[in-house]
Structures are given as C-alpha cells and as structure tokens.
Subunit: 499 residues, 2 copies
C-alpha cells in the first residue's frame, strides 16, 4: 500500500484527470518502447474525445512520449481521432495508419535528441505531463515504473503533472531508476557514466508537489507480447554474429567487456539467446535502450553481468518474474532517462557493440530503418542512430528476403537513409555476414551481394553493379539513377522485386 | 635554427627519404584540409614512382592522411600513378578524377572516426609515417606545424617515422598544439575539454626516437588560395544566418557563448565576415576543424575570443601575418588532433552552432554533401557529420542554384545522403532561411520550397510535392520513386534541371 498523504489528498478518477486536458494541448507522457506508459487516463481521455466530437466540437492533442507506447495510449487516442501530432517514435498499427493517411503529423527523432530539443525550446513545450509511477511522496518524489523515457524532462517542463499510481508494481521495484538531467551548454560537465552500472543521479524524479494536480490509482501490467523462441532465420543471423565476434576476439580486435546494445524484435532476441547458449562466452554487460523477455535467457545462463537500459519491456509473465526476483536484479539493472541511455558521449566512451535491425540495405552500405518505398513510415528511427554512429562496432541485421521472397532486403539503392554508409560496419542476413570496414564502395557492394543477398537476387544485383561500372557517371559509387529504384518499381507494379 | 643533435644525426635528402618507402606500403601523413602536410618527400616519391614505372615495375602506396592535402602530396602522387587507395577525405582535382575513374580506391570517413578505426585495427595500419614538423628533439618530441590531423596516431602506429622539418615556420610557433590520445574502451575517461580553449595534453607528439629514420629539412609554406571578399550570394546567406541567430537570442533559445563551427569555402567565410562586421555582436569562440584567412576579419574587429581547430588553413600571406603576430595569437588558438577537434562528446557538451555547406538538399531536409548524381565523389563528408549531428543547432547552407541556374540545390530527393533529416535543423540559401525544427516532413517541404528554393524551381517542386500527396504510398513522406530523380535525369539528359 502506497501511503503518502499526497496520494489520498490528490486522488481522483481517470475521468476526472482526463477532464483537465484541453483541446489543442501538448501532453508529455512517460513510457518507452511499450513499457511504463500511462494507461487509465488515456483511455478516459479517448472516451472524452469521442463525446466531445459527438457534440460536434474539436478535440485533439499533441502527444509527446519517450518512444512507442501501448495500445491503451496510442491506439485508444488515435482511434478516437484525438491526436494531431506525435513525437518521437511509435509502433502502433492504428497510429501508423493515421500517420500515413495524413491524419496525424509525426516527427521522427533520434531518441537522444528529444530531451534537449524540448529543453532548448526547439519543439513545443508540453503543458501537462502524465506519468506512470510506483510511488509518490508528499514532498514530490516520483518513483517511475518500467521505463525512464522522457519523464524527468516532461515533468520539469509541464505546468501540471498527472500521475497514474500503478499498484501492479511492487514497492520493492523502487530504486531501479537513475535520474540525471544535464546542465545546458556551454557550461555542461562530463556525463559521469564510465561503466554501464554507474549511477549518477537519484532514484526518483523530484517535482514541486504543487504541480501534481491529480493522482489516479491503477493496477495494470504493461501489455507486451510474450517471448517466442527464435525462428530459423533469426537463429542463423545470430550464429553469424557470434562467429564474427569470436573471430574478432581471436584477431585481437575486440577488447573484453565491451557492452552490448541490442534493438527490439526477433533477431535481437535470437542474438541474446545465442549469447546465453553458446559455450565459452563470458557474462556480458548491456548498455542499451530496451531489455526484453530474452534477458532471462542470459540471467538463467548466469551470463548477465549488468544492464543499463531505458525500459524493461517485458511480457506480463516476465514482469511478474522480474518483480518476484527483484532482490536478485536490483544491483545489476539501472533504468535511465533516454537522454542518458542513448547519450553519444557515453556510447563512444564505453565502446558498445551495437546490433540493430534494417528494413533494407543497399549495395553501398546505407540502411533504411523506417520508410517503405521511401514514403510510408513504419515506426521511426528510434535509438538506432544514437547507438550505431558512436559504437565501437556497428552491426545491422535483417533476413535477406520478406513476403515469401518477393522483397529483397538488399537493394541497389535504399529509398530512405536512416543510417548511412558511415554508421554501418557489418551487415548480416541468414545468408552470411559482410564486414565492410575499410572497404571502398564497389568492394562493399561485391561483398554484400555475395555474403548477404539471397541467391535469388544475386544475379540482378551483380547486373546492376556491373551496368553501373560501365555506365554510371563515376566508378566510385556506380549508381545509375534511372535504374536505382528498379527493384522497388517492380515491387510496386508486380508485387515482387524479382525480374 | 633547429639545433637538436638528432636533426643532423638523422638528416637526409627528400630523395633518400622517399627511397625508404616500398611498393604496396601504407603511408600515414600529417596534414589536414590543406595545412601541415609533407611536401618535399611526396614530390621525391612521385619522381621515384615514375622512374620505377618507366623500368616496367609496380609502385603504388596506400595513402592515409588527416583530411585533404596540398597538390605537392595528393596531386604529385596521383599524377605519378603512385596511389592505390586513399582515406579519409581529399579535394585535389587530379585525385578526384582518379577516384572517379576507378584508378584509386577511396574510403570516405567521418574525420572523428579515423583515429579509432586505425587504432582498433579496422583499417590497415600505416607502416611509415611522414609528418611535417617545426622542430624535433633528441628525445623524440615532435612539434607539428599547421595542423593536428592524424599525426599522433600515425606516428604511434607506424614502424618508422620520416620528418619534414619545415623551417618556413618560426620556432615561436611551437606550443599551439594540444596532443591527447584517449584510452581504448571500455576503460576510457571523459575527454576533459569543457571550454574551447582547454588544453588537456602536451604541445608535441612523443615518439621513441629510434623510430625516426630520417629528417628532411624544407622551407615551404602551405599552398592555400588567398581570401577573397564574399560574393553577393554568400553575403546574402550570411545575412540570413546572422538575422536568425539574433532572432533566436531574442526568443531566449540561444544561450550566450555557444562556440561556432564553420566549414570551408566562400559561404563559411562570408558568415565569419558578417560576424566581424555586424554591429552589436560580442566576441565569439570557435570549436571547429579549420580556420581560414577570414579569421583575421574577426581578429581585426576584436571579435575572436578563442579558437579550437585542427588546422590553420591560411594563404602564404596570412601564414606570414600569423607568424609575425604569433605572441598575440598563442593564447587564443589551440590546435588539436582531429579525433579531439571533431569529438562528438565535446561537441555535444559545449553545444556548438554548426554551419556546413550542402551540395543539394531535398524537400524533406536530407543533405547530399559528397556525390554528384549519386555517383561522382567530390571531396568527402569530412567533419560535417561529426559537428552537425551533435550540434546545439545545425545549419546547412548553399546557393539555391549552380551552373547558371541549370542546377537547383533544392531537389525532390537527394541522390546521396550524408546528413539525413535528423542532422539538419536549418537550411539557408540566398533566397532565405527555413527553420525545420519540430516540423513533420510535409511542412518541412513547404517551407524549404517557399523560403529556400530559387523562384525558377518553386513551381516544379510544389508540383512534385502535390503529386506525391495524391499518388505516393503515404502522405507522411510523399515520395513517388518513379519521379524522385526527375530533376537529375533532366540534368543528365538536357544539361538543366528545368522542365
């Protein structure tokens, strides 16, 4: 039982809290890559928006979060047509459709940039912050739940703060967070994180309690899918990566104890599973933005040294286990605000091994992580750019084909560039691994074709490259613009990139 | 007179030094964006290569530098067909042609990445280092000349070191450099630069004197063009930038004392001239990679507080003045190795205003800095990516047209992405300034068209955008791939991007 006097004093229903939010407002919420987001107030707000719309009036808000949020937030509000603009990342099907139909404006941002852009006044300030918490004290200490996200900055900037006090989470979960806000340039100190487990701030967000205008009690887990065992393709990719890392270590090119960063999804999970199961691997450290259920594979194999993350994105079952074993985990997990979990300074300093997923990769090592056919937004760039640009070594991975082989992940030219050639050092598909370090563009292309492309597409890719070497304006990067998107144009026309 | 015993002891001619370099070797040299590069040994090496070729034998080296080098190095060697591969940046006409013809392999790199990629073993180690110095001591202290560049790393990695002792530079120039090499991850400390003028290392490169195999005396200035007064277009761009910065300051969005970074070329010079001549501007700090003749405009206006740079890229006349006044300049200039002048950690910490030049910019804020028609290499990405990604605010500038108006700098889609939408906050042409912060892609596009595109191209750009909003797969980034390069295809076909 959370018992601070402020809780009963400011207690209200989700409906009462939702009624405080005005049309046109900018609302900043907790939550990062669905974990730790508010649930009850958004559902009530969506209901209220529907009522207001039914009465023929306008109601839309600008929604700023940490990263993606659960359906209770993004899905409910977008289906109620209550969103006008959204930053900085999302992964909800209905929201994605509304972005692509033009109903909702979306600004895709590097996750490490969001806090500073808000503080510097480059993006609209939020007037109301809604944050999920495990506890709050009468003097204004807010203990966040499963994600650091943007909460400290939104709470600081907002005029008023609404809290969802989620009693689903044990009070013993308090203490996982490390909250630190850097001073503004030009008078900023070093970010004093030198080891993934370093704590540099306090385990709560401090706010003037007068800004807390309402506290809504809830008891709801984050709604994340359960861990599934890796499929054959993901497992093959993971195998190539483990072989590569072992080879690099033998060659003296990989120091001991570099922390890992791993994106979300099946392939990332498969790599962690392999790190847990492959003989002869020492316990690892993670300096990452999201930890998923697969973390338990490492814990069970006694191979997790420590993990710095922005969010614990766990299925309800894994949330239960994590809480049950909280005393085992408290020392080795630290939850940071996304400005710190993704900070270029720390990432370059500690020297991470970054592993992120590509939608498509081109012959010259550029990666598209976000846009289908250069146009349709999937989720957003997320933290991949923060990590890969400053990594010790940056790995991008994807199955070589999608949609029953009709889409090749290796294309002549990507239709949108999220990470360019300079941020991509190693490319891996289930076919194999291409180590692009130190290679000129044409050598990169040959290697990507032979090691990573699906055999069905190798001939077409070789033909494009050879045609370019004869006909392009330069043999350095031998693109022929008239043909650069021919794979994509075939896909749009015939439903397949095949010739 | 430089008088250390080592100088006479290891003295040799440029020809003798050149004879020590073997076919197929990797040679690392001093020099950064033509300043401080070796001159006599490369000329002798080119002559030797011609002789060897005349005798029917192979002779090519891999050449690693800091950034671009003078014609005495890049030009001489490439005309002698003595280069097989080159990193990480160049700006020599003959070398550019050889790269684009496929004779020389070129690997374009972020300048902050080069030292770590070399040290980590990701790129071939150089076996011989050739560095220009002002002095060398018998115990192996090498005092560099006009650039920090990669010298400390190449000297450390190489088996043997050749020195060009350039007596053109006064001994009083010693002390400008600050040489610091970071420890490898994961045990790295913070880079302790908190103010552009902070010195964190020593003013020389220390080497085991046994590695110094030859010292060649020279007396040659760096060959850089003289400063020309800004043309009308550059001056208009500069004017828009000054107006914008003043506006930002009034709005409380620009703290006092943010250091400036400024790329090379006419437009960058024009901005510094305006900073020197506009009433009511306080002295500025620079945290940049290159200082050109235009720095004297600031000095003469008493508006240069301090400058951290990697190179003093001055014309012979300005080199003379700088040396004559060295006692006035020593306290406010610090020359760093490029790993430090361009380090993301320091750049994000001190919060720079970055100003870089684009070749072309697309409707959605992506910048091409390097490739003509997606294929032909100009110079390379240089330091622009290091600075803009981590800047407090990132400005890209270009005249709105080139080649008598036949090329529009604003295009539907850039043909190569060096800086993507996330690293580009403000776009400026002589037409005007577009502040893209916090805007969704379509709003960015409207603003870039109306503020920055040349009036001759606005109609065509609007038509592309409107066509996309009707026909693209998504209204989020409404690209239509079949038409995305229509400006470039018209240029290739008709010599003009006009319809």
């Amino acid at each position: 039982m959370r018992t601070s006097p402020i809780i009963s004093h400011k207690s209200m229903t989700a409906e009462e809290a939702a009624s405080l939010i005005r049309n046109g407002e900018t609302v900043g919420t907790s939550g990062f890559t669905p974990a730790g987001y508010p649930k009850a107030i958004p559902i009530a707000l969506a209901a209220r928006a529907r009522e207001i719309h039914a009465a023929g009036e306008e109601f839309r808000i600008q929604l700023w979060t940490g990263a993606s949020a659960g359906d209770e937030l993004d899905g409910e509000l977008v289906r109620a047509h209550a969103l006008s603009k959204r930053i900085p990342y999302q992964s909800n099907k209905d929201l994605r459709n509304a972005i692509n139909s033009g109903e909702v404006e979306f600004v895709d941002l590097h996750l490490s940039h969001v806090a500073q852009f808000i503080r510097y006044g480059f993006i609209d300030q939020c007037t109301t912050a809604i944050v999920e918490a495990i506890d709050v004290t009468t003097d204004g200490k807010i203990y966040l739940s499963m994600a650091g996200g943007m909460s400290a900055t939104y709470i600081k900037q907002a005029d008023r703060v609404l809290i969802e006090l989620n009693e689903h989470f044990l009070e013993e979960m308090k203490g996982l967070h490390d909250v630190y806000l850097p001073a503004p340039p030009p008078h900023r100190a070093a970010i004093p994180i030198y080891h993934p487990s370093d704590r540099i701030g306090v385990p709560y967000v401090q706010v003037d309690p007068k800004k807390i205008v309402g506290i809504v009690k809830t008891n709801l887990p984050d709604s994340n899918a359960e861990f599934r065992a890796p499929d054959a393709e993901s497992d093959a990719i993971a195998g190539h990566i483990i072989d590569f890392l072992k080879h690099e270590e033998r060659m003296g090119r990989l120091p001991k104890n570099l922390p890992f960063q791993s994106g979300v999804g099946n392939v990332a999970n498969a790599v962690l599973c392999r790190l847990a199961s492959t003989p002869g691997i020492d316990p690892i450290m993670m300096y990452t933005e999201v930890v998923q259920d697969s973390i338990f594979q490492l814990i069970d194999a006694d191979r997790l040294d420590c993990a710095s993350t922005c969010a614990l994105t766990l299925s309800p079952k894994a949330q239960e286990r994590f809480q049950r074993e909280i005393n085992l985990h408290k020392d080795r997990f630290v939850l940071r605000q996304q400005e710190m979990s993704n900070h270029p300074e720390v990432i370059r300093r500690v020297g991470i091994i970054s592993m992120n997923t590509a939608v498509e990769i081109d012959l010259f090592g550029n990666v598209n992580s976000t846009h289908v056919l250069g146009s349709k937004m999937l989720n957003g760039i997320g933290g991949s750019g923060d990590f890969c640009r400053n990594a010790y070594i940056s790995i991008f991975m994807t199955p070589s084909t999608a949609k029953n082989g009709n889409i090749s992940a290796v294309v002549p030219m990507v239709t949108h560039v999220d990470q360019n050639e300079h941020s991509v050092q190693v490319v891996v598909t289930e076919q194999g691994l291409a180590d692009l370090r130190g290679l000129s563009p044409v050598k990169k292309a040959r290697l990507i074709i032979e090691k990573c492309a699906h055999p069905d597409y190798r001939g077409l890719l070789r033909e494009y490259l050879d045609y370019g070497l004869e006909n392009a304006p330069s043999k350095h990067t031998p693109h022929v613009l008239e043909r650069a998107f021919e794979f994509h144009n075939r896909l749009a026309k015939n439903g397949s990139m095949r010739a």
